[in-house]
Symmetry: C2
Amino acid sequence: MSLKQILLGRTLPTSAHAEERLTIPAALAVLSSDALSSVAYATEEILLVLIAAGSGALSLSLPIALVIVVLLAIVILSYRQTIRAYPQGGGSYIVARENLGLLPGLVAGGSLMIDYILTVTVSVTAGTAALTSALPNLQPYGVDLCLLFIVLLTVANLRGVRESGNLFMIPTYAFVVGIFALIVMGMFQQATGQIQSIPQPIAAAQPIGLFFILRAFSAGCTALTGVEAISDGVLAFKPPEWKNARKTLLFLGVILSGMFLGITYLTQIYDVVPEEGQTAVSLLGREILGNDSPLYYFLQVATLLILLLAANTSFADFPRLCYFLARDGFLPRQFAMLGDRLVYSNGILLLSLCAALLVVVFRGSTNAVIPLYAVGVFTSFTLSQAGMVRHWFKERTSGWKPSAVMNGVGAAATLIVLLVIISTKFLLGAWLVIVAIPIVVMLFLAIRQHYRYVAKRLSIEGYAPRSYIARPKTDTVTHPAVVVVGQLNRGTIEALDYARSIADEVVAVHVDIGTTDRQKLHERWDSFESDILLVILDSPYRSLIQPIIEFVSDFEYDHPDVLSTIIIPTFVTRTWWEGLLHNQTAFFLKRALRAKRSRVVTSFRYYL
Amino acid sequence: MSLKQILLGRTLPTSAHAEERLTIPAALAVLSSDALSSVAYATEEILLVLIAAGSGALSLSLPIALVIVVLLAIVILSYRQTIRAYPQGGGSYIVARENLGLLPGLVAGGSLMIDYILTVTVSVTAGTAALTSALPNLQPYGVDLCLLFIVLLTVANLRGVRESGNLFMIPTYAFVVGIFALIVMGMFQQATGQIQSIPQPIAAAQPIGLFFILRAFSAGCTALTGVEAISDGVLAFKPPEWKNARKTLLFLGVILSGMFLGITYLTQIYDVVPEEGQTAVSLLGREILGNDSPLYYFLQVATLLILLLAANTSFADFPRLCYFLARDGFLPRQFAMLGDRLVYSNGILLLSLCAALLVVVFRGSTNAVIPLYAVGVFTSFTLSQAGMVRHWFKERTSGWKPSAVMNGVGAAATLIVLLVIISTKFLLGAWLVIVAIPIVVMLFLAIRQHYRYVAKRLSIEGYAPRSYIARPKTDTVTHPAVVVVGQLNRGTIEALDYARSIADEVVAVHVDIGTTDRQKLHERWDSFESDILLVILDSPYRSLIQPIIEFVSDFEYDHPDVLSTIIIPTFVTRTWWEGLLHNQTAFFLKRALRAKRSRVVTSFRYYL
């Protein structure tokens, strides 16, 4: 309790809940870190595919990057329509559910959940790779560093990170400045003829074919991850919210395209070949900025920080999505509860656990997780755009036609890319996500079915007002009680007194496992409790529980239509370790009675 | 439950409890395995000390072994007196407690507990060493093999190994036959001049001094461990019990001395030098019986089996000692309960856990554990003999004087050896035991104090018969009840019905964490439960528990001198995983009420 307070701070009242509104530069920093940070790994992922066809194939990366930028433009134009239509924030789950129906909505929700988990895994592993590229001594501790970062993010988010734009702007703009500085200096060195790198030819392991190029394209599509964040968070903008959000989305597109194309171009002119233990950006940095220059370290630290910030956005989005799903009955209710610090703590914990598990399973390798990543992203892209098309056809607000066309093109483009990704990456890991999404959706449906069943069973439809119910005033027993007696001591005597006060028939029951002095017990009983029947049960197998369970079952059977109260005297020790010195019979008895459908079980406590 | 039954077999009734009586050969096999098996490591322990002073010092082992045999004779003559005086079985704990008082008794009990744990550790590691000496490929798995053997012993003993003499005789007599065959063949080879070993001189690392010789002597004293077992188990003999036990003890002494001296003599004439991965007995076997001869493997397997049998005796003795201590209130009562298979399961589990822990901590090395071993053994030896001296002076039965002298000599000799062991092995690990014994004794005393405190608090001394207590028949409230209400559903409605039937004042309490539609709740309440007051509590910090705890505390304060019943409606899901979909509020509420000293808490269950 105390440790929790030290780590997380004191509990906050509900009234402290407040939303902060962001200016455009702040919003760009906070909401775009996920998208912008993908520059740190997207080019490298393309190169890692191409290198299999030899160093000659690496020159394909620039055309592929250009196609991806076109795709980015389509997606951004499409999401601008979503922002206009959903000024309250239009996440894929909400858009797909409202417009396409339950199942597509749940598919979008499930994809997004997986997507957020993978964002944390990919960002944290890529950030760690940026760090270990700069400090190769840390390379053996890659997985540990990843887990450490996840723990730090978890604690920070459980405390409740205010998305304070000012502080969060630093890593984003530092990264943007660093990357553009790299691009400018690199091009300047090229223009002045300072490049001395001699390409080392690498032999081709496989031929270049369409499938091969599509696979490289799929790998590069990770550059688009996180683009949807702005349309989800329209409400975080200062008024006029939707207009500011649209502007910000445009800025994002321009900056992201510039950085992505620039880095890809540099890898070509500097003949960067992916290398174990060095990211492509780090190799460029060492080449252009100098091996141990402060600028190089600045770039690597900025890369680490923006990637952690990108992971952090999932810590805001995942619990919020879980809240929506829980509110609608598709996830356990606990995800809809605000924790001590006004955050959805359970969602945060689930996210960190899943991300940490993936880090461990994939041994902290960004490259190994990437094939899983894009499937969820493009599934939710497609469903969201398709939902928007449907939206425009339903609403037909002024100027709906061009918007519908935009979203239609977006949906078609992202669907095609999704199919490409699935077909090229299936065996590399994408199958995991394709298997996981339907399982998650079935889980959603099973959970809702359970809640519906419970609600039906608990409904009081058609019940009569209780205060008018006539109470029987006859000689029949109306509330019988069984008192479990171990020894005759103060605790049991007071429990029997209590039983007398609430019940009109009291029976005491004692189990003899072969150690009871029956004569002495009967004598003491007769002198203290002669008005209550004492039943002594034999227990040839030395169980204290089983004979009582059977007795209670028989007793309840003999008293139909009324509720029998089972009274279990338990004494409470001062400390937990003192409890170890006593049989936990009361606990096991209660559990066994629960399974036997005894409805009223009373703990009568005696405090030592 | 099912797995437990497969492993352990079905539950046995108490009436199946029976004791088997053993003939002298069977008793020798069952009760002496611990003592006889120490031949497998005692000589080696002496050599391991002496080798530090160079190979020349190894010739000291025979004189040291002779002194140990004299000591053995004294101890055996002394224990013969104990057997006569305690024909019901005189373990150190009982003898020391009866004759020397509480504290010496507890010291003996604590030493014995530690001793039994170390017997398991030493025997299992030494047995594993015998196995890996024969099959060197298994050497990397030493610790795993030790743990496997402990698990097998645990399961066998939880099932309840009948100490069936016939089966258990095989390893003991196989070992005795094997060792004597080794000795005879070795001496025959010496007599016929077949020994060709050329001693490799080893340089002395330290000089030979008195302290050094005493340390080697201490190491060899492990040969005496287990000698007391026969005097503990007199009742296991066929009548006349004590006479048969004395005879058996004498046989044990003769056989043990012969084997120990023989092995020590052989190590000298064969110039055996301790070697990593090979026990001394294995080296002798390879030399005398032939490297891969069936006889050699027979000897090693017999060694393994008798050592496992020796460990097994601790599995009988440790739980029995725990039973005695628990019966007297020095250990938790759970140790006095017979498990499903009529064995003291908790004692067995405690023993295996401790022994396994030591195996892991000492990485399965017999040599590392040995310094800890002898301290407990000789402490209980000394206390037991000293207790016997006191016994004879108190009882003064016929012929008490020679017995008192015998026991006096035994007590003096073992005390001196104990002091030698402590002083020579203190830094090597004996300090651990010297620290542990007082801690264990203090634990014993703290446990007894707790039980006494509880008994005093629960005593009904001076209570009046309850049936004559006048019950108040006035208008004052005699049994008030608080019903915790989440939603108004079937479960809560029935709980309120129940509350009406047992209480004469009912208050319902609901916590609003900011999500309750108060108007709707009040409307529904008025139409169903208008006769019961509904209190709605604010919860600015969103806790469901805290406001109820405070309300209940106030309610109980407002109703002094009577017991308030706190009724918590809980609904029971069909499976445990369905329970995950619901807040465990009822559970946490009960726990919090327990801490707040609410005496009567009723679970009102609604089964879905």
